[in-house]
């Protein structure tokens, strides 16, 4: 179990290392991984080592605490120390913890590549002439042999020195890592203990460390966003080298099949995004048509009319709706709502045929309709609209209500003419957030809206959305240099820009609203 965990961690580190520092292609990355993974055998478990480090820093904490109490005694108590004993204790445990963690991290990340480069120097002369890719293959064979997979005979006796070098280096590394880490831990603790002095204000150091930790945590989110944006952006640029930007943006035909052979029929591939946008907007529009009135009115009821008891029941119930997984909504849409709509459509058509009503007799309802997906998505985003609207309606000051009642307005007049207009910007912000959620929603439309990229605004037809197409383009075996696959990134970028714009507008609107009462 621990072994498995260790290998997974290792794999992750290596992948991050590759992503950050090099442009190695996937093949050599894979060989790198297998090399490093095999190295893990016979080492001290990383989890155990982490536990030891944590235990060590806890011991350091108590040592620091005791020591600071000790030095406080001769100078007349804790009040004469520059900092509280807990700060000395924290400082000491940080002294122990941080260097040890840094050593552990660096060792874990670097030892694979250091060992590899050392072993490479022991390879026979002709192997050193090989290209990078082939060298990688040879190295992975060397690792295999050192792990007992395959024999030196098949690889060639001239690789003997490399294999034995690798074996010795690996075992040294495996033994040295825990020893070095624990040594650093103890050294850090000793340095920390020396710093426990009445004149040394430990608070500054401790607060600084926490400050930095908090900063790092908050920047992780930001850097992740940048990472995602740039990865999508660069892949999209690749796509736009194959397909012109304006063909993508203004094309009215979406059929992403690329010919694999030159003589293949009907697979020229066209990447017009218009049908997808229209489908997305159609479904989102239907969803908002459901969610906005229902959500808004339930919010008004809850905040203005409902008694505390009713509110206590209805509000959590609405929040349960927000907790239903979208995939459950998805099969509800696909298996219940869509067939029901089709059945009603058919009945209506038969009735129209009997009574000679032309437009009804020609009614055709697709079994995967935009209407079904939109309806269910609408139900899904009701809680968004209602809970955000509820918040902004409650934020309208009581003095405005009093003012209106004081002039003899009824409750409904007050709501219609004072509260709702005052809350409107906030409500609009909530609706825009719900809209961006509807546009980005995937699961319901994958299951209920279909794959046919029809350019239509008829809610009874099957349409497809941007998100559905991204899923279809990336599911299954893919080559990452064809326009078909890269189109997914362009669609993703497109979707990102739309929802980002909606969110920015929504936040602006909400902010403007907030300033009004402060």
């Amino acid at each position: 179990m621990f072994r498995l965990e260790f290998r997974l961690e290792f794999r992750l580190e290596v992948w991050i290392g590759i992503a950050c520092f090099s442009n190695v292609d996937i093949q050599s990355a894979a060989s790198e991984y297998s090399v490093v993974g095999k190295l893990s055998k016979g080492k001290m478990n990383l989890s155990t080592l982490l536990l030891i480090i944590l235990a060590g820093s806890a011991v350091a904490y108590f040592l620091g605490y005791t020591r600071s109490q000790q030095i406080a005694k001769p100078i007349g108590g804790v009040r004469n120390l520059a900092a509280l004993p807990t700060y000395y204790a924290s400082m000491m445990s940080l002294w122990a913890l941080i260097p040890a963690l840094i050593v552990l991290f660096l060792w874990s990340v670097l030892d694979g590549s250091i060992i590899t480069s050392l072993v490479k120097s022991s390879l026979p002369a002709e192997a050193k002439q090989l290209s990078d890719e082939n060298l990688g293959l040879v190295m992975s064979q060397v690792y295999n042999v050192s792990q007992g997979i395959g024999s030196l005979d098949t690889l060639g006796q001239e690789y003997g020195p490399a294999v034995s070098r690798l074996n010795s280096l690996s075992s040294i590394s495996a033994k040295a890592m825990p020893v070095l880490t624990i040594l650093v831990l103890i050294l850090g603790a000793i340095l920390g203990l020396r710093a426990v002095k009445p004149t040394n204000n430990a608070r500054y150091a401790v607060e600084k460390v926490f400050n930095i930790t908090l900063f790092v945590c908050s920047s992780i989110a930001i850097f992740t966003t940048f990472g995602i944006v740039f990865s999508v952006l660069f892949e999209s640029l690749n796509f736009f080298q194959k397909v012109p930007f304006f063909d993508f943006l203004f094309g009215t035909h979406w059929s992403p099949q690329i010919a694999i052979r030159a003589d293949q029929a009907g697979a020229s591939g066209s990447f017009g995004v218009i049908p997808l946008i229209v489908g997305t907007l159609l479904i989102s529009f239907i969803a908002l048509l459901i969610a906005v009135p229902v959500g808004l009115m339930s919010a008004i009821y809850l905040s203005e009319y409902a008694s505390a008891r009713v509110r206590g029941i209805v509000k959590p119930a609405l929040e349960v709706l927000a907790g239903v997984p979208t995939v459950v909504y998805g099969f509800f849409a696909a298996l219940t709502v869509a067939p029901a709509i089709r059945r009603y459509g058919d009945q209506l058509r038969d009735w129209g045929a009997e009574n000679d009503i032309g437009f009804l007799a020609n009614l055709a309802v697709s079994s995967e309709s935009a209407l079904a997906a939109g309806l269910v998505m609408g139900v899904m985003i009701i809680p968004f609209v209602s809970s955000l609207s509820d918040d902004v309606i409650n934020a309208v000051p009581q003095s405005l209500r009093d003012g209106s009642y004081g002039l003899g307005a009824t409750q409904s007049e007050t709501i219609k003419k004072v509260i709702f207009p005052a809350a409107l910007p906030g409500v609009v912000g909530g609706v825009l957030l719900a809209a961006s959620r509807a546009i980005g929603e995937t699961m319901i439309v994958v299951m209920a809206a279909g794959l046919a990229a029809n350019l239509t605004v008829n809610p009874l037809d099957a349409v497809t959305t941007v998100t559905v197409q991204i899923v279809t383009l990336l599911v299954g075996d893919q080559e990452f240099d064809s326009a078909k696959t890269l189109a997914a990134f362009a669609l993703g970028l497109f979707l990102f820009v739309i929802t980002l714009a909606l969110n920015v507008i929504a936040l602006k609107v909400v902010k403007k609203y907030r300033e009004q009462y402060d």
């Binding site: 209106s404 009642y405 004081g406 002039l407 003419k417």
Partner: protein, 281 residues
Amino acid sequence: MNQIIMNTAQQPLVDIVTETYQTSGLPLLEDPKMRVRNANVFYGAKQAIFDVNLDIGKNQVISMIGPSGCGKSTFLRCLNRMNDTIDICRVEGELLLEDQDIYDKKIDVVELRARVGMVFQKPNPFPKSIYENVAYGARIHGLTDNKVQLDELVEVSLIRCGLWNEVKDRLDEPATGLSGGQQQRLCIARAIAVNPEVILMDEPCSALDPIATATVEELIHELSENFTICIVTHSMQQAARVSQRTAYFHLGKLIEVNDTSQVFTNPEHQLTEEYITGRIG
């Protein structure tokens, strides 16, 4: 009741207020606008107003004074049933507006509040234009038949509040852009546009600077020619300046009511004297 009195045991004079008490001065009038008899107000189990008897004279300004938490605002809000919006609040007793019981089940609260308007402590213009703020009451009560009449009503109301010259060029601008004093006068214009018989003012100047306060006080004085005005105030000077009668409340009880000059120069009750000389407050 005993508990409330015990709470302020450090003020020895409070003991004078016993369970049964008689309001000093002249609480009752001939032919008043509003009559209040044996009014008791409760917030849940806590009693906030004890057995108040008071008449409010026609086209007079009556001011309610007293230390914080004495129930003067609560009493004011009973007069147009604004306390209805507070769930736990319960009003007992007889409150009459020209011989009509305002707590009668048959009374339409909306109509009552059109007759008894209210101006609040903090200016609370609606986040609409200046024009729409004044036109609001007229619109909800259908007081005008066309735009010309409505324009006229808005203009007259603003003129009466002395705001017309300041805002006539920017009637379409948001009312929240006005200064505090202008906002409060706008709220008064909004209240008188409905043409109420009584205007209740709950500390209308406590959020205003001295100059704006002076303007509003002058306005109250002018309005008293046509309206009956009840004003709650923390400032005894203000009460002395604007009102003909003054009512002194203490711990939910109406201690003394009389002509303003009488109350401030020659109070009958010891508590009133304590308050106006600054020993309670």
